[in-house]
Every structure is written in structure tokens, then in C-alpha cells.
């Protein structure tokens, strides 16, 4: 049984590999009936990603996960059930959202718990992606770490300040895990380039890496490439093309929806850099095969030399408190900017014993420019404002104290023409000052050259038994 993964791959046809991806994000849930419809089409593997930097730096900074543990248990149990029934491998990437070692182990424990409860056994590989800070510092000194996009060059102090630094693995660690042992049934990985699990399965079966990466790139978002967008999606990769089809019969892939998918959240629509190279989609051809299925060909992959991986890290940066208040008086609203300046100056004067550079007071004025800030083209404020004042300081109690002082000062601030002399703010909630806990910020987002695509990503194998 331990060799099931390999048996399946060996019996996979040379003409086609089929991959089933139930969702673009593990933990968000997916329609199980459509997933089981996919299983009936005899996929060779199930892949699913759980990674994203999109909900913020607090995952890396504070060890939070994208979804609750309960949500992960629910989705993973459906995947393990499928593995138990079909014996095809299940590949899960970027555990917990940030893909730290901590969250790989959380996923590993969830998997072991479910197996114990359900009486299942299989071989598990856990692939880790935390990168040793001393190693990064050495590579930085050797000139092998560069900013990725509009990011400052890496300061060695930021490496130390980061709670943890991970690197996005490519397909190679998955290939290693699949090859190295007697066959692996379930892989849970730390931070990975989202398409890596799908690409690894297809590359291992001998197919064109360019098509493998492109299919992986589309499938890592589930059926986001369909109209309307959905969850479960099936990919069919062949010698010179692949096809993509959503598993919900109400959804369809169109040439436009599949071609335009690579716009989403990407810097460039046709040039997609990843570990080991860049996917070039500028020459792709998209054909409508059925009214719900699209065929893609012409993808190209340009290997990079040397091989690079993306480093991701975040640090904590003090504590925040906010207050939330409404304003309805037009005489007050017309003078809000000048009034806030005075109130913040008075607040700073009151806290003159606190070094001014160690805290920040930032207004968010909804109804004026709360969403776009200085970029807001509309200059006339609305008839009512939601005022949120954000204070960041070294400790929670100080942040709350500064926030409280700013709130009470604004509440009672005099202004020219004031006739509402009892108070300037409508406060909806208690506590009137709300502590938000530690703030986090991304501080490592750099490319690091590596000699080996696998050496930084250790793998642990174990037999999971009931």
C-alpha cells in the first residue's frame, strides 16, 4: 500500500494526466458533490493550495493561519477520504496560508488525527520551507539576495527582525518526495509557488514543463477561470496541450475566461516568474473544445540561471488601538481636516514624554477619503463621516492611552461656528478605544539565488496509522 502513489503514476497513460483541484484555497470549503463528480473521471492526483499573502502580514508576523483549524479539518477530511477510496496522491501546499514549519506541523497533526479517527493508513511526506536566518544573511553578504519589485534592498537587521522567513519552493521538492521513498500518498508542504504541486505531478509523468506550469497556474485558483467563477476544476494535460473544465455543470470555461485568468493578481498578464524560471504565455492559443471546456497550447517556459526562490517574511511593529466615531454636523464636517491637525497636535503635546518617532496617529475619514486617501478625486465630503483614528505605539496600553486622548479631545474640541456644544462625535461601540493587538508588516520580499532547488526544503516521511 505504501507504493500506491507510484503504482498510480506507473499506470497513468502516456497520453494524458488528469489532475483534480477542488478549490483555490483549502479551508474555504468546496461543493463535495462536484468534487466526487471529478473523482469519477479518474484523476491521477488531487492538488490544492492553501497559501496567500493577500490577507496580510499577520500570518507570517504572528503565526496566524488564513482559516480556522476547524475549517481545515473539514476540507482535509474530504481529501483524505478520496485518497482512501482511490489511492491517488493528495498534494497540499503552503500549509496555513504562510507555509511556515509551524503550520506544516498543524496540518500534519490534523491529517494524523483524521486518520486515527477514521481508521485510515498511508504514507505522508511533510516538506518544510522555513529558511535559516544565518543562511540568508550569508547569501545577502555574498550578493545573492535581491529585491523583488518595488522593495528596498534587504537590510540584515530586517532578517533578524522578521518573526520567520519562508521561501517559495518550486516543483523539485515535491518531485523529490514522490521519488525518494517507496511512494507517498499525501504530501503537505510549507510555502510553495502555488502551481508547484500540479506542475510536479505533470512533470513527473513526463509532460512538457511549460504546459505543466501553465495548467498549474490556472488550477491553483480552482475554477476561478470559469464563468461564473467556482471551485472544483479538472485539468487534462497531454503531449502538446492541456484542457481545463469546471466540475460544476452550471459553470463554463471560455477562451476569454481562461486567457484572461492570468491577469488576476499578477504583475504582468503573460510573463509569470516563478522558482526556476518564467512562464511566457504571450504565444498561447486558446480553443473552445466544448461549450464548457477550453484547450490551451503554446505555453513557453524560460528557465532562469541561476535558480532563484522568493523569500517572504514579516515582523511585528508595535501595537495598535483605534476609535470609531460618526460625525453628522455639517459645520463640524466642513472643518474636519484642520480640526484633526489641532487635536493631534494637542495629543502629542500631552504625551511630550513619549519620543514622537515611536508612535503614529493616522486618521481614516470614511465619507471623505477613507478608501483612497490622497488619491481620492472627489473633494466634497458626504453628509456624514465615519472617523477612525488609528494609533500605533510601542505597547498596547500606550496605544490605547494616546487613542483615548485623541478621542476625548476631538469629542470636545471647539471650532469656529460651533453651536452643538455638547459633543462632536457619535460613538457606536464600547470599548470606546479598541485595542487591535500587535501590528505586523512585510519586511522580506526578495529573491535569493540557490545552488539546489531542494536543499533548503527538508522532507520528513512517516507512516500514518490508525
Amino acid at each position: 500500500m505504501a507504493a500506491c502513489g507510484q503504482v498510480n503514476m506507473a499506470t497513468a497513460s502516456n497520453d494524458e494526466i488528469r489532475i483534480l483541484t477542488p478549490s483555490g484555497m483549502l479551508g474555504y470549503g468546496f461543493p463535495v458533490d462536484h468534487f466526487r463528480r471529478g473523482l469519477a473521471l479518474k484523476p491521477h492526483a488531487i492538488t490544492i493550495d492553501s497559501g496567500s499573502t493577500d490577507s496580510g502580514p499577520q500570518k507570517l508576523g504572528k503565526g496566524e493561519m488564513t482559516c480556522s483549524r476547524e475549517a481545515y479539518v473539514k476540507d482535509i477530511e474530504v481529501l483524505l477520504q478520496a485518497q482512501h477510496e482511490t489511492r491517488i496522491p493528495v498534494l497540499i501546499s503552503s500549509a496555513g496560508g504562510d507555509g511556515t514549519n509551524l503550520h506544516v506541523d498543524v496540518f500534519r497533526d490534523i491529517i494524523a488525527e483524521i486518520a486515527k479517527r477514521r481508521g485510515w493508513q498511508f504514507k505522508l511526506a511533510s516538506i518544510y520551507a522555513n529558511i535559516d536566518k544565518a543562511h540568508i544573511a550569508r547569501e545577502l553578504r555574498a550578493g545573492r539576495v535581491e529585491p523583488l519589485g518595488p522593495v528596498p534592498p534587504l537590510d540584515p537587521r530586517e532578517i533578524d527582525a522578521a518573526t520567520v522567513v519562508v521561501a517559495q519552493m518550486g516543483a523539485e521538492p515535491f518531485l523529490k518526495a514522490l521519488d525518494e521513498s517507496e511512494g507517498v500518498d499525501v504530501i503537505v508542504s510549507g510555502r510553495a509557488y502555488d502551481p508547484s504541486p500540479t506542475a510536479a505531478m505533470a512533470i513527473r509523468a513526463g509532460f512538457d514543463p511549460a504546459l505543466a506550469w501553465h495548467m498549474g497556474k490556472i488550477m491553483e485558483c480552482g475554477a476561478l477561470c470559469a464563468e461564473p467563477v467556482g471551485r472544483n476544476v479538472m485539468g487534462y494535460l497531454r503531449q502538446d496541450h492541456f484542457e481545463i473544465e469546471p466540475l460544476n455543470p452550471e459553470e463554463r470555461c471560455t477562451t476569454a475566461s481562461v486567457a484572461a485568468h492570468t491577469l488576476y493578481e499578477k504583475t504582468h498578464p503573460f510573463l509569470l516568474p516563478g522558482p526556476g524560471g518564467t512562464l511566457d504565455l504571450s504565444q498561447c492559443k486558446y480553443e473552445q473544445v466544448t461549450d464548457r471546456r477550453v484547450r490551451v497550447s503554446g505555453s513557453r517556459f524560460i528557465p532562469s540561471n541561476p535558480y532563484t526562490v522568493k523569500l517572504e517574511g514579516a515582523k511585528t511593529s508595535g501595537y495598535r488601538s483605534i476609535f470609531i466615531a460618526g460625525a453628522r454636523d455639517p459645520i463640524f464636517i466642513a472643518q474636519i481636516d484642520g480640526l484633526l491637525e489641532k487635536v493631534f497636535a494637542a495629543t502629542r503635546a500631552y504625551f511630550s514624554d513619549v519620543p514622537p518617532e515611536t508612535y503614529r496617529i493616522i486618521p481614516h475619514l470614511y465619507g471623505k477619503n477613507g478608501v483612497m486617501g490622497d488619491l481620492e478625486p472627489v473633494t466634497t465630503p458626504a453628509h456624514e463621516l465615519c472617523i477612525i483614528v488609528e494609533v500605533a505605539a510601542a505597547t498596547q496600553s500606550l496605544a490605547t492611552a494616546i487613542c483615548g486622548k485623541a478621542r476625548t479631545t476631538l469629542m470636545h474640541a471647539p471650532y469656529p461656528g460651533r453651536i452643538a456644544t455638547a459633543g462632536n462625535l457619535a460613538s457606536p461601540f464600547t470599548p470606546l478605544e479598541i485595542p487591535l493587538g500587535e501590528a505586523c508588516e512585510f519586511n522580506v520580499y526578495h529573491l535569493m539565488k540557490v545552488d539546489s532547488p531542494t536543499a533548503l526544503f527538508p522532507i520528513r516521511y512517516e507512516e500514518i496509522r490508525a
Binding site: G149, A256, L263, C284, S317, I362, M372
Partner: protein, 112 residues
């Protein structure tokens, strides 16, 4: 060419903004047809200079700007004003920064 103009929100199929990683924001304008895409391109209204003005970013800092035939889309990628999710964030996902693009007026309908 007619003197009348129409805002892009009445012409395009999709106008949206989103993070492209924690340090970039990307804006997509996708058109319903090749004809609409070509007409807007030909109008010459959407330029790097206009983007620079709307988003207060020097033209040389624009990361991606292009009309992409294969997908009838304009793609624009800019540096984020601040790293995503830090102190002072106003839009964690950068999902509501597209509105200035909606309001761009182009000569429409196109009279040949």
C-alpha cells in the same frame, strides 16, 4: 469623430484593482469585444501619463502598462503606496482602488 464622451465604466466588462503581491497593485480593464478594445486603444486617452496623474506615481515607476490583444485588456501595475497590511493601511486587498479608471472618459460612440 463625435465630440461626445462616455466613461469607461459604461464600456468595459471589467475594471478592477487588486494586490499583486504585498508591494504592488495591479489594475485590469477588460473589454467586451475586440472592437471596443481597439476603439479605446485608438482613442489614445489611456496613457502612462494619465495613469501617472490619477495614481500620483511617476511614469518611470510604472511597472507594467500595456494593451494586450490576446485578452482585449489593459493591464497596469504600480508600486503600492505602502507595504500591504502595515500601519495606515486603507485597503488590505487593494480591491477598491479602481474607481479613477471607471471615470476616464473616451470619445464614444466612435463615429467613423
Amino acid at each position: 469623430m463625435s465630440a461626445a464622451t462616455t466613461p469607461l465604466r459604461e464600456i468595459a466588462k471589467v475594471i478592477r484593482s487588486k494586490n499583486a503581491g504585498p508591494f504592488e497593485i495591479t489594475l485590469d480593464i477588460v473589454f467586451k469585444t475586440k472592437e471596443d478594445f481597439e476603439a479605446v486603444r485608438q482613442s489614445g486617452v489611456i496613457t502612462k501619463e494619465l495613469v501617472s496623474q490619477l495614481y500620483n506615481v511617476p511614469t518611470q515607476n510604472i511597472i507594467t502598462f500595456g494593451f494586450f490583444d490576446l485578452i482585449n485588456a489593459v493591464k497596469i501595475t504600480l508600486p503600492r503606496a505602502r507595504a500591504q497590511g502595515g500601519v495606515g493601511e486603507t485597503d488590505m486587498h487593494a480591491a477598491q482602488q479602481h474607481v479613477p479608471l471607471q471615470e476616464i472618459r473616451v470619445p464614444w460612440p466612435v463615429v467613423s
